[in-house]
Symmetry: C2
Subunit: 360 residues, 2 copies
């Protein structure tokens, strides 16, 4: 099959030019006579990759010097444990906003280490909005305030960065990091699994304010302590070199495309087109309140759900794949991360309109 | 540069046919229209990879049904924490054999969770042998007995599997797993980081007797609990799909080569040739006692250490790379895992003999 438009929620599409580089680099990477998978993480060639990855990420996100950039394994889920182990002490209370499945999972893990205060919860309307911050019930003395910037399942996104005062703000940015500019200074910790906009699964990016490093609880496993990564350039043990290298190529690609202002505009444009097509039809609908609609994950349902299997199989024949919604909500979901070109959105909309004409 | 002979201790060489498959599979893997990096871990295509990886590994190592096979992230170093958290309770004593740097690191992490009794220690002779088991001072009631089958830095290897009676035997097999047959039934837990004989860094293999799963300490982070992986086929969260896929290709390759009996004979032959060449010369020497010499990592020193830089640079010109010994011991080290062909050994020996003729 020729390349498809891959609407997977993650692991997700990787930009074609990056895939081309990866292919070219096997089995001889930059004249080393080996692939990057075979290079020692201590080799000059690989250390240069790691350093460039950090530099480029700092440039993309304008990360200030008082923040460290760490590349641990275990994805965002490992951060669900690492954040409370590193940023809170026994007996602490932590504040969480609950806006969907991912914040729920983060809360469940944090509860094992802290008292969790849910400051706001949108479960009352099936996680289709973000409660106004005016209504949030903050703790007196929370160790941190945690939220998930974008919930991939319901497709609901924070259109604002919460105010947290002196309380460190912690954000699971797995599905939005690098999709647009962000003001890093507002945060204590930003973390993201790679497999949406960064690279292949198997590596995470953690951006953490340096003063929050070095306070891990006594029994924290060595590889769950931010200080371990900070002290060793994320190479205290053998890192996931290949995933790190691909992330580095992605960062380079994003810079070459013009950086996150450009990327953000593209993403807004792509999402806007798709939501407009959905809203213009009675055949399709999206349940998320307009202000909180995700730029990254666009769920939609057909008025007649019995047509779902036909929709999915015909879409697949057209090279539009992985459109099935998450099993917990059904319907469809188009995940349209950075690597999805506008042509993919156009092809999806054209298919949806044709499907509606035939089956509407 | 054309392909080199890569003697890296890890990440290490990957078999050429496996690299060829990886290259061919970009950007269209098995007619899916995407690379494996972009496929959902829940997709049929990827689930088939994961299942085949386990089946092939079970066939290679003859893993009995009462053992689970897990694929966590974090390499062997994460297992240094996971083993005590899963296989011991607070207040327990655990037994360790100390035969080099890797067992020392495992001991340091275990001490944070248990009382560690070092049953035997070869530090007295610079870790150049394994103490006879007759001399070991076992605890009365250890939760487990841990050893490292092969120490990559000094190049010292256990030529036997220790007797542990009813005590679960735990082995760090990072640098020997899949290099020869092993009797899995002797063990409670076998673990290995991938980046020697299994695949790229970023995934580990843990083979654990099922009765040892489900007893993790209360505060164990979710992704450090063997039960999390066992319950979800190692997919409770997004796994390191690409590394898993490469491991699967390596397993398939090893089966096609004839399995571990064949591979083991080849490795013994390769190591035997290289040690014979070293022993036949006064110009080179290996300090490890003959019975404990590693088949995987062959350190050697030049009689005149001032020639080391010349040796290394001339070797590199001949396409023999990564021969520098670990900084803690100096000299040279040839790591000759499965992917190193006998032709690479022959080329190294020919170079060594020529170098001796010129500089001896």
């Amino acid at each position: 099959m020729s390349r498809v438009y891959n609407f997977s929620a993650g692991p997700a599409a990787i930009p074609d030019p990056v895939l081309g580089r990866i292919k070219d680099d096997i089995p001889d990477w930059n004249g080393t006579g080996m692939s990057v998978m075979e290079a020692s993480h201590r080799s000059k060639a690989f250390v240069a990759v790691a350093e460039k990855a950090e530099q480029d990420l700092r440039q993309l996100l304008l990360i200030p010097g008082e923040y460290s950039v760490l590349f641990p394994q275990g994805g965002a889920t490992m951060q669900f444990s690492m954040v409370p182990l590193n940023i809170s002490a026994e007996g602490d209370t932590v504040d969480f906003v609950q806006t969907g499945s991912w914040s729920k999972k983060a809360i469940a893990e944090a509860r094992r280490y802290c008292a969790v205060n849910v400051v706001a919860d949108s479960a009352d309307q099936n996680f289709t909005y973000v409660p106004d911050q005016d209504s949030w019930l903050h703790s007196e003395d929370a160790a941190y305030l945690h939220y998930c910037a974008n919930e991939t399942i319901a497709g609901v996104e924070f259109p604002f960065v919460p105010e947290s005062g002196e309380t460190p703000l912690v954000c699971d940015m797995s599905s939005t990091m690098l999709s647009r500019p962000v003001d890093v200074c507002r945060f204590g910790v930003i973390y993201a699994g790679a497999q949406k906009n960064i690279g292949p699964a198997g590596i995470a990016v953690v951006i953490v304010r340096k003063d929050l490093i070095g306070n891990a609880r006594e029994m924290t496993p060595a590889l769950l302590d931010y200080a371990t990564y900070d002290a060793a350039g994320s190479m205290s043990n053998t890192p996931p070199c290949f995933a790190w290298y691909v992330a580095s190529l992605v960062f380079e690609y994003l810079l070459a495309e013009g950086g996150l202002e450009v990327i953000g505009k593209r993403n807004q444009q792509k999402a806007g087109k798709l939501y407009a097509a959905i809203d213009a039809s009675d055949f399709y609908s999206n349940r998320v309140r307009v202000d909180y609609r995700s730029w990254m994950n666009v769920p939609f349902v057909l008025a007649d759900a019995s047509l779902d299997p036909t929709f999915l199989s015909q879409a697949e024949e057209e090279g539009l794949v992985n459109l099935k919604g998450h099993r917990s909500v059904g319907g469809m979901r188009a995940s349209i991360y950075n690597a999805m070109p506008e042509a993919g959105i156009d092809a999806l909309i054209a298919f949806m309109q044709e499907f509606e004409r035939t089956h509407g």
